[in-house]
């Protein structure tokens, strides 16, 4: 019961609709921000939202070891449980843990063929069938177009949705609709782009592309003490 409640009350629903995924099958989503603003916690919230809906999430990190990623999940879930007064944390964990798989790579050792090889191992042996992939720490340089295109094909073939974090820099150029420069050359591959940007002491969440956020919707705000999206009045 509390799982359903958490799903319903998740502010992410405001971006993606009440029950559907924010992304279509084979779709790409991005969480864009400068370093230290809160990309990873938001990515973990997106992952947890899927996990609560018993979707299998493959979390790929190119920055952190497995232990640290687990700590992120612990922290974010604990904050969510605290915010919504969930007492049965252990049961919640036990329910979602079988649906999460973490892979950690050294950034220089990561490649799409390698990922595909790992995915094949997992699926062929019926170990884990990912429905959502979240990739944290992939460098979005000039060379990223090709691997992203290859990944798009794989995502479509396997009916997966893929979320990325993208680190931006202070002085980069801004494209149409406020699209960040780092993403301009690959923006066509993305269905949803969410930007985090600090405004005074808060972090605002702005949808740069896609999503269902109504134009008169007040901005979503990340609570910097819990790194959760603040629960706002629904329209």
């Amino acid at each position: 019961m509390f799982k359903k409640e958490l799903i319903f009350r998740n502010p992410l629903r405001i971006i993606g609709g009440e029950s559907e995924d924010i992304l279509p099958e084979g779709g790409f989503g991005a969480v864009v921000a400068r370093a230290g603003v809160g990309k990873t916690p938001l990515l973990v919230q997106i992952a947890l939202d899927s996990l609560l809906r018993t979707k299998n999430v493959l979390h790929i990190s190119l920055d952190d070891p497995v232990k640290k990623i687990c700590l992120w999940y612990d922290e974010v879930l604990r904050n969510i449980a605290h915010q919504y007064n969930v007492m049965q944390m252990d049961q919640l964990w036990e329910a979602i843990l079988p649906h999460r798989f973490i892979m950690s790579f050294r950034v220089e050792a990561f490649s799409v063929p390698k990922l595909e090889e790992r995915l094949t191992e997992l699926t062929d042996q019926d170990i884990f069938l990912p429905q959502i992939i979240v990739i944290d720490g992939l460098p979005f340089d000039e060379a990223v177009k090709k691997p992203l295109s290859d990944l798009k094909v794989i995502a479509k073939d396997r009916s997966m949705r893929v979320w990325f974090t993208i680190r931006t820099h202070r002085h980069e150029k801004i494209g149409p609709h406020g699209m960040t420069g780092t993403l301009l050359h690959v923006a066509d591959l993305f269905d949803v782009v969410i930007q985090l940007h600090p405004v005074k002491k808060d972090v605002h969440i702005k949808v740069l592309k896609g999503g269902l956020l109504a134009s008169d919707q007040p901005p979503l705000v990340l609570d910097t003490s819990t790194m959760l999206i603040k629960d706002i009045v629904r329209l």
Binding site: H59, V66, K68, F101, S104, L122, Q125
Partner: protein
Amino acid sequence: MMENDIRKVRNIGISAHVDAGKTTLTERILYYARRIRTIHDIKGKDGLGPTMDFMELEKERGITITSAATYFKWQDHEINIIDTPGHVDFTIEVERSLRVLDGGVLVLCSVGGVQSQSITVDQQMDRYRVPCIAFINKCDRSGANPFRVIEQLKEKLGHNAVAMQITIGLEADFMGVIDLVAMKAVYFDGDNGEHVRVEDIPVDLLPEATQRREELIDVASMFSDELTEAALEGEVPEKLLISVIRKATLTRELIPVLLGSAYKNKGVQPLLDAVISFLPSPSDVENQAYTMDNDETPVTLSCDPQKPLVALAFKLEDGPYGQLTYIRIYQGTLARGDTIVNARTRKKVRVGRVVRMHADQMEDVEAIPAGHIGALFGVDCASGDTFVSPGTSLTMTSIHVPDPVISLAIIPKDNKARVNISKALARFTKEDPTFKAQIVEETGDTIISGMGELHLEVYLERIRREYNADITTGMPRVAYRETITRRAEFNYIHRKQTGGAGQFGRVAGYIEPIRGEDFVFETRVVGGAIPSRFIPACEKGFKKCLKKGTLLGFPVTGIKVVITDGQSHSVDSSELAFQTAARGAFLEAYSKAGPVILEPIMKVVVETPPEFQGTVMASLNQRRGIIVGTQDEGHICVVEARVPLAEMFGYSTILRSATQGKAQFTMEFTMYREAPRGVVDELIKKAMEERKRVA
């Protein structure tokens, strides 16, 4: 004589992954400190084995099982050192060592790097907030890469690790180290590297040494404005740099990393210098005891030999001269002839022989002052007991002792073996709190339980060898538990009237699941419905029921009992009547409360070459494992999973054959989880067969 200036004492532990070379390192340390005259190597040609690995079994297997305390002098300092085991199954030994030590040396292999066991040991050091330095050993080995290991210390363990040295040559060409503080090259001459030769840095290594020194100063500057200023001015005094690194090491904000090869006799003496420079003296560490009243208020102990005694017995051994008790003195002085009190039993004990240990040899001393480690003879106590001066009512925190997760039956072949087994078990259970033994009333079987297959195997070997007992063993059994999943009410009347005094008691209330506790008892009875003198009997009655659940006879855990009402009789009510009523109430409610079987889940970490990653994951998956994640580290891949213990028997053999012997794994208990229906059905079937056999 013991060192009087406590600032010149170090109590250190050496912890590492198995085969990282810590026993060889300890052997070299004792050699250079002139505590031993010759060097023996693990599984060496001389068949003697190192001094610290004194048990025959350890010598044969090339592993260290028992912590052996020893002391030696280095420069004008006195160092107490404990060699600790590397297998996860023996971590109670490691944990005990860390509890009583002030600093640690984390030994890592420069080829293997930070392996899963290093992570476990590091977590233990972290639990007891033990400051440590790292020693990257085996720099002479093919594939040695100490700076990769330093990166792993940062990435995998999250340490702020910084190199204090760089190597002169590497692998087969490893010749010595460059000290980045003194900016000198250090070579180790003589047959056993006993002559330390300090030279100028070879010209070809100067640029690298300068760069690494700058990195060291950069890291250290974070902890001192004075050092930052000195660095900006271009002149960093050696003394200042050392004191800043020491300060940061003591707070665990920095880990200085030393390099060498113990086997090739290189780098050990600078490591000892670093122990003195960077690890804390007993006076740098704050230790707490607790008052023995209900509040258990923490009291900070003072490392003052004049104050009343507070000491912790952290290890027992049964030697040829009776029980030897390893003891750490936190406050006061323990002297021969003193009368001390065991805080747990409140019994007075007269101190006979006081000794300092050197592996399996000993030296008699008059007294052990605060901050030191020593041993006592002829004192009857259990591991973890606190000793205090008469009139002092303090206890040290009890050492965290996990519950055993695996058990097996041992069957003696003859009567002589039966007698010897009982002697052996009496000793082992006293020495090792994670090892337990009991006799099952129904079957008469002796059951031993512990922390893993290897843990039990080692004790079985010791029973056979040291006690000459011929035994056979049953199949290992998992320590299942029972618990309830929902609230259920009870209202039970116990009434018996069969002539003479009758029995009467009624208890009403409910039971409900509770997390994180075995048993909680609460009474909300008002108006004397149950007289207060019978409440403890009710609690006792419920508690007795927890020993054996009615589902399959496993111990019951995670249950809260609340009594809300009851009834008594002025003549017929008694403690026995209410105990029996509580039992009836428990049985009434338990079956309604959705009882389930819990099984122990282990955290399993497998390190494998990447080409076997899929095979390893499949092998864990087949064992009902949930794979938490995989970590790709280039030459090696780490797979972490949660697997039921019941599925892990014989896994080492299976893993070996599936990966051509190239993968290894560690396993430790993590939690209890509800067992699936299939497992429970199987257990029910087995229990029925067992009942038939007994009948």
